[in-house]
Symmetry: C2
């Protein structure tokens, strides 16, 4: 087992409590305290927010979507503008995903139809070479291979890139399809090696890190074996992919409990695309360091506030005259700014953009505070009590 291998990167565990741990992921330009949540900046912007606003929520690293940025505006343009950092002016660490997940899930073979719209993997063709798909923007045909993913991510120039993996959708029926998951695991390992060949040749010396992705669905033995396989390779961190893709939540939690803490302890562990605050609490308990999810920002745009006391839809009539902020104890720019629930509701009903910002800031703050408080609890050896208490608050409901 080896710690991060790219020059300038290191990961140090500063405290632990059970499997939960506080760490410091150091990149050549930025420090990231873990566990941490990464807001998603799909198209080069965390929707509606300025970099300063995102940073104000406690975010220390932001995720960019390679699929979207590849198709528009294109990685060559972004490279010319100084990479994602220069392009977006985000002042801290960045990570890009491989683009594979969106190529599978967003891309369509030919024009969208009622039958294919929104279907995971509809129309994309996966082979040993990679994924062939049509752009969701204009139907143009593209091939995403391990090599192109590395080339595109290298041009985007985030601090951390991700290998291309094969992510198998799970559902009540498919979750038990061991053969499909074994195939995805084996292919992901082969793709891992192809990714590393490119990375070691072209990008490693530019002080850009690469993470591997563990697959295996909810089969714990597959996951553990895959984690060991990938840990033997020159990855700077290891991710758990293929969770929260349709499987029942209790199955995800069971697998997480068995698998997460077995990922190489000397490298950061990243649970991809997850999740709710409860998912994060669960992941942290089992030793996860990094999370990302569109949930806090996407739900904000639908009017849903995530608070310490659960979720609430700001459109509700009960808030029509409510002079209180969303959460009087919250320190975000929305709550501390004193904006009344009645004002937020008015803005939402009137279609005013400002409310989407304010709710996004609030929701990301809730995630940032959750991670900050989790780090403190781990340092003080009271993570289990913290988790219990947080869940109690979440289930209490907003008054």
């Amino acid at each position: 087992m080896t710690a991060p291998v790219t020059p300038g990167f290191s990961f140090r565990t500063e405290a632990s409590d059970g499997h939960a741990r506080v760490g410091r992921f150091t990149t050549p330009h930025f420090d990231v305290e873990t566990p941490t949540f990464m807001p998603v900046g799909t198209q080069g912007s965390v929707k509606g927010l300025s970099p300063a606003e995102v940073e104000s929520t406690g975010a220390q690293i932001v995720l960019g979507n390679t699929y979207h940025l590849w198709l528009r505006p294109g990685p060559e343009l972004i490279a010319k503008l100084g990479g994602l950092h220069g392009f977006t002016k985000w002042p801290r660490a960045m990570l890009t995903d491989s683009g594979g997940f969106q190529a599978f899930s967003l891309a369509q073979e030919g024009p969208r139809t009622a039958a294919t719209a929104g279907k995971f993997n509809a129309g994309a063709k996966i082979s040993e070479e990679g994924v062939v798909f049509r752009s969701h923007l204009d139907g143009s045909r593209h091939a995403m291979t391990p090599e192109t993913s590395m080339l595109v991510q290298g041009q985007l120039g985030a601090d951390v890139s991700m290998q291309l993996d094969e992510c198998t959708p799970l559902s009540d029926e498919k979750v038990r399809d061991r053969a499909a998951l074994e195939g995805a695991v084996a292919r992901t390992t082969r793709w891992a090696k192809r990714c590393l060949d490119v990375w070691n040749r072209d990008y490693r010396h530019q002080q850009k890190a690469l993470f591997g992705i563990v697959q295996g669905g909810t089969f714990v033995d597959l996951r553990i074996a895959h984690a060991e396989e990938l840990a033997a390779l020159d990855f700077d961190g290891l991710a758990l992919g293929g969770f929260s893709v349709g499987e029942p939540i209790p199955m995800m939690y069971e697998a997480l409990a068995e698998v997460a803490h077995r990922l190489d302890a000397e490298r950061p562990r990243y649970l991809m695309g997850v999740g709710t605050p409860l998912d994060l609490l669960e992941g942290v308990e089992h030793g996860v360091d990094l999370f990302d999810c569109v949930l806090p920002t996407r739900n904000a745009r639908n009017g849903q506030a995530l608070t310490r006391f659960g979720t609430v839809n700001i459109k509700q009539a009960r808030f029509r005259e409510d002079p209180r902020p969303l959460d009087e104890a919250c320190g975000c720019a929305c709550c501390a700014g004193g904006y009344a629930r009645a004002y937020l509701r008015h803005l939402f009903v009137a279609g005013e953009m400002l409310v989407l910002r304010l709710l996004s800031i609030h929701n990301l703050w809730t995630y940032g505070a959750l991670m900050r408080e989790a780090r403190a609890a781990i340092r003080e050896g009271r993570y289990a009590a913290f988790k219990r208490s947080w869940i109690e608050g979440w289930n209490r409901g907003v008054e």
Copy 2:
């Protein structure tokens, strides 16, 4: 002639250059340096921007639309939440319009049809009593009288409210309809007195100011006579309404040159709903102190940046790879933040909200800087040269 009459209000001219003047409009809670531009916060929010962002552009007073706020969320609710200041958290002075202009121009008699959509005054019924119209939101019937306008504005609680006036649309044909304009002038005076009756009884002692509105189209003699009539009443300021409502721009400029400087010099002069940077330069030259217009924020949402070197549409292909900010010498959060034109274009093409904010901030900054520089030029007795030079820059075009 009398200076502002409401307790706590004063207006002082600090410097002048020809008819152009620098003043200080003092309200019980805020100081406003004039000439100044008021961004428009139609529904309780300058679209997309936080109060701090609006303030950062140099704005010292914001306008709220009585028509919109009356229909949604309602003035009683806003009053309960502490008035427009408490509701929106805007930390400086506020002014509300009378609601009449929107009642005439947005409201429809019955549901919108292709024939009436967008038509000024379509369907609204104007009588001596006031304006009866149907809400553009739900078709409900409302009557806007001088008395209801005062009641609604009193509840909104801005620092400055406006009398209800009759604003006559102008067009190439109607601009010469002297009889209609004479009628509007006379009615506006009668409505002024009804407004003042309510204001003096209910709101004056709450340290809320009321401005009168001069009508008369482009008939200079009507305008001057009306200005003198209204100056004899207890208004804290005088506005020029009914400009920029369809008449040819040169006719507006001619009338402004004759009329604006003849409005009582001891009270602030407000040119309503105007306009482009060139309109503001013209207005200032002739002694106008206050302006408002949706142009900088509305055009931003359509992708148009207003710069010292004219307007430019950020969608243009020529900006695809342009690494420069909109204007390297501009101090706004968009330009000083270093956002490349290529990035702004990408955000616009990709439908990302952030660009609407950045362009709105930039455009309001352009207006704020124009007013700040105009004040400096007036103080230094070089307003004519400043105006010439600004127009030259504007006509130069963006490189």
